[in-house]
Amino acid sequence: MIYREAGDFKTTYRDDSQTFPIRFDRRAYYALVAVAFLVLPFVMNDYWASAVFVPFLIYSIAAIGLNILTGYCGQVSLGTGGFMAVGAYAAYKLMTAFPELNIFFVVLLSGGVTAGVGVLFGLPSLRIKGFYLAVATLAAQFFLVWLFNKVPWFYNYSASGQINAPERTIFGIIVTGPSTPAWSKYLFCLTILFILSWVARNLTRGEVGRTWMAIRDMDIAAEIIGVNPLKAKLTAFAVSSFFVGVAGALFFAVYLGAVEVTEAFGIQKSFLVLFMIIIGGLGSMFGSFAGAAFLVLLPVFLKNALVGGLGWPTDLAAHLELMIVGALIIVFLIAEPHGIAALWRTAKEKLRLWPFPH
């Protein structure tokens, strides 16, 4: 009887368009945010930060970005890795060219640069759809990785071809570079995720979001209500790439510190983020988080349970992970295209009416 919608009547349209219309959900959300900001940074150790929390935060940003493009606007992209690389290299160039520039703005500007590149590669989406667009974005993926490997200007002519993040601070706290403490990586990424998910939520619940979904569901009908399809698709590419670019910048500057492009931002990254939104739920904010959490936690869980607990060899656990992910993708694509988010919604609907099912 704790989880109730009944009696929680909405008297204004404002209340009705809240992010969490049900009071219980709203309280749970506030509690979660409070724990994430005020408790976790002080109790987590390095292992949990680098194996679970920091990658979860960064992948959540990337998944929200891809979900905007694919889940909300219906444009499939296999170029996520490439766009993350754009964000990473933009951050590197900005950090080295403008050492005075605050890292917070470096990250946002890197997102901005990626948004521009995303729009450029989004241009063909007016003419080509579905499978062919996916192939075009795949071409973008390979082209971008090739570009960052091939043109020494991007890695400042370093002998290794790698890029390394110099040390930067915010309010005197180190957030990038080799001597960054785990909690500050976590807190920096959390802050950015917090802001960006709020932005994404605002965009998807308002007019732009409906425009994207209109294009996704039926582009002819979208045009008849006044949607300019090119503009709608390009804003989706821009906003999506901004998120993905920010994720790439954080992945490089905060999480890894040093990056080799093929390894960090190859095609497997594109698939990883795509799998996150398929498993989590296409067209759902919650799904982006759920998918990122699931695919970050799964290998950690298998490693601890199977390798650590049961003494399985590492490669066997890795194979099992691939098989589980593959099977889940197929199951979700066939049985529940809206992913974990839809399962969660159904469970809540049941809970809401419990114990009287009618």
């Binding site: 349209y13 965009l203 308002g206 007019e207 409906r210 979904m213 996704r216 209500i225 006044g226």
Partner: protein, 273 residues
Amino acid sequence: MLDETEEGHVTEDGRQIGGVLMEMRNITLRFGGVVAIKDISFDIRKGEIRAIIGPNGAGKSSMLNVISGFYHPQEGEIWFKGARRKPMKPYQVARQGIARTFQNIALFEGMSVIDNIMTGRLTHMRSGLFSQALWWGPAEREELENREVVERIIDFLEIQHIRKTPVARLPYGLKKRVELARALAAEPELLLLDEPMAGMNVEEKEDMSRFILDVNDEFGTTIALIEHDMGVVMDLSDRVVVMDYGRKIGDGPPEEIRNNQDVIDAYLGVAHD
């Protein structure tokens, strides 16, 4: 009887019919060898309900598609509000105040009823990407103002109970009504309805007829509609255009059309479902 002055006239039931709102002049539309519309001219007056009828394949939907910018005629001119219209994309036509529904329902299946209808407000919403990203202030105010307009339409069409339902779960008749709601949300000057009652039972048809008359009467919206049910056409419309094989074979008030020999022949001579 209709008087042909520019200033318009008042109908028997007291509605004001104004001057010409839209005029099609000598429209010809071809698809390869198929001539879908052949040299057709007609006008739509402000405030009237104009019906387009004709057997299957006569070119009625093609005519609406020409008006809403999906098809571009090879010959002819389109005049809207006294000015010749340049070739336009459908979204530009929408912004001129022309809304429509489709013969095969074209709703956004992945969205709720309320969101579908809210999309109809698009042409009235101005706030940019950045203010929407922030939400607070102008974007939220605009959203709430438009939500109020949409709620009035929901009340008007009596679909309060399905407000939050995903469109994909609705039965056919309600989907038709939601599609009308989305078109009405645009507060159009000219509303195009392509077979709004197709596939409905008698009761649903009566409801829909009532809504169409109310829209025209209460909001003064000009309506052009395609319909196969002759009874409905005779009841609703002020004037009727009859098409057959892409040609216009009749144009006038319903009672005149009913007695037109060409029209009777076309309907008797052509297999009709």
